[in-house]
């Protein structure tokens, strides 16, 4: 995260880290159920074998295991069948864990929006991740407040690339607070009534975040995928 700050441990209990040897943390992910999490499809390019992955929950400092940390193996990776790596469209995947997490105050799922519940332009939401900070990679989870940007406005920043209904933009024209390499798959969450947080986006792509090319970040629009997510979970829980 560029322009963010270090998070307090446990503040984002749905944030998880997708890790693979020997690199360790590769992408962020978001817990949406006891056995299910979301991340982006591009994290699995060249490594879509479930066996090479582990998922770490309840962690703040990647370099220091915490007593609240839980680790699970990956049972199944479900890539969106329309994922297009050339234009980074339909950049979403569902991950099934080999066993359920134990829900604690440090490890909790986030809410999914309803299929007609959209992030409203000009509202402020949060992104989190262990991605690049512009000058270094952090050990501790970073958080940043970003503004939701309308699709038309976002398109004007990315003339060379089409912003589709599967994408959501958030951040600032000046790029002051933005997601960056290593944040992919992590959450863009907005606070709803009664202090409940809903997942509207997954960090997907943007301009080269620590260069002088500025603009907002582009996130996979979770609202667009809610029906697909629910059906995949149902299918793999009850039918397959």
């Amino acid at each position: 995260i560029l322009g963010g700050r270090t998070s307090r441990p446990g503040r984002w209990p749905w944030q998880c880290s997708m890790q693979s040897d020997p690199s360790g943390h590769i992408c962020g992910c978001v817990l949406i159920g006891k056995k299910w999490l979301l991340t982006v499809a591009h994290c699995f390019e060249g490594r879509d074998n479930a066996d090479v992955w582990k998922v770490v929950f309840g962690i703040n400092n990647l370099d220091h295991p915490s007593p609240f940390m839980q680790t699970r193996k990956v049972k199944r990776i479900i890539l969106h069948p329309r994922y297009n790596r050339a234009v980074v469209d339909y950049d979403i995947s569902i991950v099934e864990l080999d066993e359920e997490i134990n829900e604690t105050s440090y490890v909790r799922p986030v809410c999914l929006p309803n299929k007609d519940q959209h992030a409203q332009p000009d509202t402020y939401c949060y992104i989190t991740g262990w991605g690049h900070m512009g000058n270094r990679m952090p050990f501790k989870l970073q958080e940043g407040e970003v503004r939701i940007i309308s699709m038309d406005q976002c398109q004007s920043y990315f003339d060379m690339k089409t912003i589709t209904s599967r994408m959501l933009c958030a951040g600032y024209e000046s790029g002051t607070v933005d997601s960056c390499m290593g944040d992919s798959g992590g959450p863009l969450v907005c606070e709803e009534s009664a202090g409940r947080w809903t997942l509207y986006g997954l960090t997907s792509w943007g301009s080269v975040c620590f260069s002088q090319v500025l603009g907002p970040g582009v996130y996979s629009n979770v609202t667009h995928f809610v029906e697909w997510i629910e059906r995949q979970i149902y299918l793999h829980t009850f039918l397959l």
Binding site: G10, S105, R108, R231, L239
Partner: protein
Amino acid sequence: CRDTFCPGGCSDNIACDNHSNSMNCSRCEPITLELCMNLPYNFTSYPNYLGHQTQKETSISWESSLFPALVQTNCYKYLMFFACTVLVPKCDLETHKRVPPCRSLCKNSKELCESVLAIVGLQWPEDTDCTQFPEENSGNETCLMPDQGVEECSPSHFKCNSGRCVLASRRCDGQTDCDDDSDEENCGCTERGLWECPSNKGCIKHTMICDGFPDCPDLADEKNCSFCKDNEKVCNNHECVHRSVWCDGKTDCSDSSDEWDCVTLSKTPSSLLTIHKSASDYQVCADNWQEELSMLACKQMGLGDLPTTHIVQDQHDQPGRRKWLHLSSDWRHKNGSTLQALLVKGHVCWSRSKVSLHCVKEDCGRRPAARMTKR
């Protein structure tokens, strides 16, 4: 020709096909050179003014690449017309002789475009000495001058609003090629080889039509995709399956959509458990109902697994058989993990009561409260 001997300039010529001798080789032939298909004449005669013996030779010649490239510089409006008069000279259908371009056409082309070529270090084609062509209105000899309406660009080129010609394949490709961007104006879906959504004029690939994923806002790309019989129901991916297998606990549509949304709760305050079996809605008889089945129902709906079950007495007097589903007597031994697989039709509901459920949504989206410390 009959003896397989074709002298130069006569091969592939009508004259040979007619077994004539080589004296009449200079014949008119239809223009096939794609570059020059929009000329005000359709027949040519070879050899041309550049010494090419056939249109095939012309098509792979250096000049065939040079002239279209030069046209893009907009150096002379009638350059392409001149180029074609030397590449595929007009054939006079009466005399079977070539009709040359007029000298002024040649001179204008050379004067205006030779300097452009020089900038990139290229030379004007040597064989186009303008003095070989007659002056306009010089006695009996006729020559070609462009009409006002002559197309500057060949059919393989798009004419920009500025007059420049760019390759037609570059029209509507998302990149501007005309200096005035006109090659990217009025780019409909058809021009881009795409399908147009009727409601918002958005363009989608043809492969996206009827693929089970809606792309147009009004779902037009997913309409009229299947023609199922009356006793069939359409899957999300437009396959047809028999109504009787809808929500039977086994996947029949290849995308499993026949087993989606089979378990719901009625919108009434009593929140009756409703099963969409065989493409009809049924309520569930409470005979032999077990709490674990309520849990299964809620889990299937993506809700929490601690439901409250109520048994609601049916208001009708008769223990009717219609619109009821009954728990199968051997449901514990049934090989099915969905509720709909455990329920059967056609049994009497002796208790005359239905299952009503209140599922609790699993908690989500809550952060732990910040710990408070004395200061």
